[in-house]
């Protein structure tokens, strides 16, 4: 059976759920081989084994983390040449897509981004034009390089050996051309990342102020979710730009999306309308986003949200 390479998505050594999802998909297409970049693979092996990694290629050299994007491409390109995998699966994150982009060029392979499903024979499903159109496509050249959106499949455990295979790579000057000289953390919220969260609570113009975003955060925390914002809210400076959901921001596809005070311009819809369940809370009954709502409340967020947060917390208690 062919190998399927899966680039492990991790945060300081903790494997992310997106990796479990990629391994689950990879098992349909062949035998998953996880690819780990940087130190710390020992702490991750059990989790990778649980979700079916037969092998774990570990490129442990610290130097790989000193430069942007290209070192990971170098590792994957070597593995593609060595193992002739059936496909390479990567998370559809900002960085995942950039790694995939360069890998496709370097290996002369076709690329599909933002897949929401991949079949055993490599046909990928994408939801394009803001989710309005479903497309099935297939890579026809080289080794299929496919990035998959978070929350697209339900991870299923299927224990495997996770045999560790050390990998070293010779970086070229071009791989070392963009040096990462510092990493600055501005926000330590403890919340999941927006693009991969199972629950997203977003606020828009109707939230009214930066202070009122505290209510959005409280609801997100009660649900263990991430906080999003419409462009109106980020442009007003009420919430950081990197939380913007929409055509010029992030695309999210969570299990549950709660929109608060967001009228639902097409700009915003393009970033969230593939969410599985959509709840809309807005005091304007005419807000177009109600058209997308599975459940909607016409009301003031200052009364609806505290009651909702209480009800969730009581249920948890």
């Amino acid at each position: 059976m062919s190998e399927v390479l899966v680039l492990v998505d991790q945060n300081d050594g903790t494997v992310k759920k997106t990796t479990d999802e990629l391994l689950t998909l990879a098992r349909r297409m062949g035998e998953p081989s996880a690819v780990w970049i940087g130190p710390g693979v020992e702490g991750a092996k059990d989790r990778l084994a649980e979700y079916g990694a037969a092998k774990v290629y570990a490129a442990a050299d610290e130097e790989l983390l000193a430069y942007a994007v290209a070192p990971t491409v170098a590792v994957l390109a070597d593995l593609v040449a060595q193992a002739s995998p059936a496909a390479v699966l990567l998370p559809s994150t900002t960085e995942g897509k950039e790694i995939a982009a360069r890998l496709a060029v370097r290996t002369g392979s076709g690329l599909i981004t933002d897949a929401v499903d991949v079949s055993a024979d490599g046909v990928a499903e994408q939801h394009v034009f803001g989710g309005a159109t479903i497309v099935h496509s297939r890579v026809t050249t080289g080794t299929p390089v496919i990035t998959v959106r978070a929350n697209s499949v339900t991870p299923e455990p299927a224990p495997a050996a996770a045999e560790q295979v050390p990998v070293s790579v010779q970086l070229t000057d071009a791989d070392k051309a963009a040096r990462v000289s510092d990493r600055v953390v501005q926000e330590r919220s403890g919340r999941p990342e927006l693009a991969e969260a199972a629950v997203v609570v977003s606020g828009g113009r109707g939230v009214g102020s930066a202070e009122n975003f505290a209510l959005i955060e409280q609801l997100a925390d009660a649900l263990g979710g991430a906080v999003g914002a419409s462009r109106a809210a980020t442009d007003a400076g009420w919430y950081p730009h990197q939380h913007q959901v929409g055509q010029t921001g992030k695309t999210v596809s969570p299990q549950l999306y709660i929109a608060v005070g967001i009228s639902g311009a097409i700009q915003h819809r393009a970033g969230m309308q593939t969410a599985k369940t959509i709840v809309v809370i807005d005091k304007d009954a005419e807000a177009p986003l109600f058209e997308l709502a599975d459940f909607g409340v016409v009301g003031d967020l200052h009364t609806v949200l505290p009651q909702l947060i209480d009800a969730i917390q009581q249920r948890k208690a």
Partner: protein
């Protein structure tokens, strides 16, 4: 400092986008074309760097003849000149072919920086800037929320979810900029008039040394097997808050097994 800014014409955000049933590519004729909004930030950043360091801002665009509307708009913002890669053989090019063609066009230009928007609002793959860095073996300085040029070094803040990374490289380099980096200027009437007289060069495949068998629909490295409209969502329940709105949402979430 010579700067090339990549700009793309895309269908208007508010236009309904659809795929052509025949070749399964985006129908670019039926929708009004506008400049990719995220490219406006790239043009603005190029102009600001030119104002600070001197030099020239040249636009680079690939697309059908209609794309000149977008090129003129970007010229009216203040760019000095433009290069339009225009050849019927390019129709249907995927991201790999597009980035190859743009990189070949860039080889004919003299530049210290290439600046792009992070993605186009039509295909939304967000891969072309990274692909340009790969094709040209240049520093990959993307998702910049800040760009500083210090002699021959470009230092950027690469936006991350919880902060940023400082990423730097030597010129020439490929940069992409995020929306929050600046506020793009609006051209005035006299700028729009002046833009009509600015030099616009077109490059054919041969002019840019682009191999014909590496571009266009026939060279695409993936194929669309089929496509369909997503079935419309069935209408949900909308209630008016009568003092129990929050509780009603909670009941719904419980019924859906979401809490």
């Amino acid at each position: 400092m010579n700067i090339v800014v990549c700009v793309k014409q895309v269908p208007d955000t508010w236009a309904e986008k659809r795929l052509e049933p025949g070749d399964k590519t985006l129908d670019r004729e039926s929708a009004d074309g506008v400049m990719n909004e995220l490219d406006e930030y790239a043009v603005e950043e190029g102009l600001r760097l030119k104002e600070a360091h001197g030099g020239q801002v040249t636009l680079l665009s690939m697309g059908p003849s209609k794309a000149t509307e977008t090129i003129r708009k970007a010229l009216s913002m203040g760019a000095d000149a433009a290069v339009h890669v225009l050849d019927d053989a390019l129709q249907g090019s995927d991201a790999l072919a597009t980035s190859y063609a743009l990189s070949q066009a860039l080889r004919t230009l003299d530049f210290d920086l290439v600046i792009c928007g992070t993605e186009s609002t039509d295909a939304r793959m967000a891969v072309v800037p990274a692909m340009l860095a790969e094709h040209l073996a240049l520093p990959h300085l993307t998702y910049a929320s800040r760009v500083e040029v210090d002699g021959g070094t470009v230092r950027t803040h690469r936006q991350a979810e919880n902060g940023y990374e400082v990423v730097e490289g030597a010129v020439p380099a490929v940069v992409s900029v995020v929306e929050k980096i600046n506020e793009p200027r609006y051209p005035k009437f006299k700028d729009i008039m002046a833009a009509k007289k600015k030099p616009l060069t077109t490059l054919s495949l041969a002019d840019a040394n682009i191999e014909a068998d590496r571009v266009g629909l026939a060279a695409a490295a993936s194929v669309v097997e089929d496509f369909a409209d997503r079935p419309p969502k069935s209408a949900g329940t909308v209630v008016k808050d009568e003092g129990d709105g929050g509780a009603k949402v909670a009941e719904f979430l419980v019924a859906q097994k979401l809490i």
